[in-house]
């Protein structure tokens, strides 16, 4: 356990909590600026099993915010290149790789096998699918998104918190994309760090934040926003705590 002594030295993390992390499995959907760092933080923190899924290949324009990858990874699968780095970071963490998109065919099985799902995707359609499957399988998931100098995160726990459809009832056709308005490379690490902290708390059975974290790093604005569960939500409306 020497590897984790700076972590278990925290008042918030006991050696038992650390052992708990080793027994957990996290599904990371998307391995861009968010998912890549998320996977690294989780492996370094001692999570026992990570499942990575992404169909994209590493492009030059990714490297300004993919902190675990470098020029030798250009053209290679993001999921496989990330897995190779993670295995060098922590051999104790088991890594599964899926070179495909998260979709209706594989989604339910992948979510069912995970203790926590972390969002590293770049689109809302996939997030609505994650939400639907996670509510159905009663699996918590941590939403994270960023564009420009803005980032946001919310920890969805079925039966305990609102779901994504409570928060965004209608699917927006058009939202700003990183390709159009850019992304400051300091923003994804803030989102990812918040997501991973919440995921670690979930895995350790500790209380998580029940508010939307929304920030603009450029403007130094950090907000927590109350989000209420919608009783008539088509996804989680009938789901109540046992």
């Amino acid at each position: 356990m020497d590897r984790y002594i700076r972590q278990t030295a925290l008042n918030q993390v006991s050696e038992e909590d650390q052992e708990t992390l080793r027994s957990k499995k996290v599904l990371i959907i998307g391995l861009g600026g968010l998912g890549g760092l998320t996977s690294s933080l989780l492996a370094r923190a001692g999570v026992g099993h990570l499942t990575l899924i992404d169909t994209d290949k590493v492009e030059l324009s990714n490297l300004h915010r993919l902190f675990e990858l470098n020029e030798e990874d250009l053209g290679k699968s993001k999921a496989e290149a990330t897995a190779r780095k993670l295995r060098k970071i922590n051999q104790e963490t088991k890594i599964d790789v899926h070179n495909e998109n998260f979709n209706v065919d594989n989604g339910e099985r992948l979510v069912q096998e995970a203790d926590v799902v972390i969002d590293g995707t770049d689109n809302l359609l996939t997030r609505f699918l994650i939400n639907k499957v996670s509510v159905k399988r009663n699996t918590p998931w941590v939403y994270g998104a960023c564009v420009g100098t803005v980032g946001t995160s919310f920890t969805f726990v079925p039966k305990k918190t609102p779901c994504l459809s409570c928060m965004i009832p209608k699917k927006p056709i058009c939202t700003p994309e990183c390709e159009e308005v850019g992304i400051m490379n300091t923003v994804p690490p803030v989102v990812s760090s918040h997501q991973v902290t919440q995921a670690i708390k979930l895995m350790m059975g500790k209380e998580t934040l029940k508010k939307l974290f929304y920030f603009d790093l450029w403007k130094n604005k950090f907000q927590l926003v109350t989000v209420n569960k919608k009783e008539d939500c088509p996804i989680c409306g009938n789901e109540t705590e046992d």
Binding site: L124, R127, G144, I168, K170, I173, T175, V227
Partner: protein
């Protein structure tokens, strides 16, 4: 009535007859589907009623990653 409104690039007080969040967003030319409406610190749906002195914070839905 007067509503204090915070937009991504602007912050101002507006005089409006809009009774609901959706009506005010339309007045301001903002698409309610691609924005979050935060009324007095709480995320609300577009059919939420407005009242004098409310503070409405409009944020874009963030989807990148």
């Amino acid at each position: 009535m007067k509503i204090k409104i915070k937009l991504p690039e602007d912050e101002k007080e507006v005089e409006t007859n809009a009774s609901k969040v959706n009506d005010l967003l339309k007045e301001l030319g903002i698409n309610p589907v691609s924005h979050l409406a935060i009324l007095n610190g709480e995320l609300v749906t577009e059919d939420e009623e407005l009242k004098e002195g409310d503070e409405l914070d409009i944020k874009e839905v963030v989807s990148g990653g």
